[in-house]
């Protein structure tokens, strides 16, 4: 791949880092719990994107292909060619699991925010009187 592709992939990685920084600012600095929740979902998505970007490998043949074999391999050379031109499927499997588990955790957080509003009368963390 050319150096322009390297530049663009590096820029995509830096944009993930900027997204992580903005969403962490939202989690820590914003008083509303709903805003913290939205920023937390953005944070988890950005961290998952890092794993996908690690699994995107460079191949000498050009743009890599999807990690799926359309037919069973007939010889060792078929397997070698597939391994040399496909992306890494392991981070994709990990992210697939992380998305589903993150959905369950976010549902739990929504329930906690509803209970918070029921007891304290507000979702802001600055107006709570105990």
């Amino acid at each position: 791949m050319s150096s322009a592709t390297t530049f663009l992939l590096t820029t995509i990685m830096i944009s993930f880092i900027i997204n992580i920084a903005i969403s962490l600012y939202g989690v820590f600095a914003k008083p509303s719990l709903v805003k913290k929740f939205i920023a937390l979902t953005i944070f988890s998505d950005s961290v998952n994107s890092f794993a996908i970007l690690i699994g995107f490998r460079r191949t000498p043949l050009g743009y890599p292909s999807i990690a799926v074999m359309p037919s069973p391999p007939q010889s060792v050379e078929d397997l070698k060619r597939f391994v040399s031109e496909a992306v890494d499927p392991v981070p994709q499997a990990l992210v697939l699991t992380a998305v589903v588990i993150g959905l369950a955790v976010n549902m739990f957080l929504v329930g906690l925010i509803m209970l918070y509003y029921k007891y304290y009368g507000s979702t802001s963390t600055r107006r709570v009187k105990i």
């Binding site: 709903v34 939205i38 929504v110």
Partner: protein
């Protein structure tokens, strides 16, 4: 040039996702912030597709553009809409 085109599209989607994240964090109205969050998730789904992970897109798109904004809108309806 043909192998550059998916990377350029992913680059543009990454830039749009930065703007959407900033607007989602800074917006006072929670409903509009939820919509900006959905826009950011759409950009990430496009990036996943262009980085050769279409199986992630099939799971991520219903979860993060469908279910999570729906649950957040229900949460906003039951609690407060505007940030102080």
């Amino acid at each position: 040039m043909s192998e550059m085109l998916p990377v350029i599209m992913a680059f543009v989607a990454a830039l749009i996702s930065i703007v959407a994240t900033w607007l989602a964090v800074q917006e006072r109205d929670m409903l509009i912030a939820t919509l900006f969050s959905a826009l950011q998730s759409t950009c990430y789904a496009l990036i996943y597709y262009l980085l050769m992970a279409p199986d992630i897109v099939l799971v991520y798109l219903p979860v993060s553009v469908g279910i999570l904004p729906l649950i957040t809108i229900i949460l906003i309806k039951k609690t407060e809409r505007y940030e102080e």
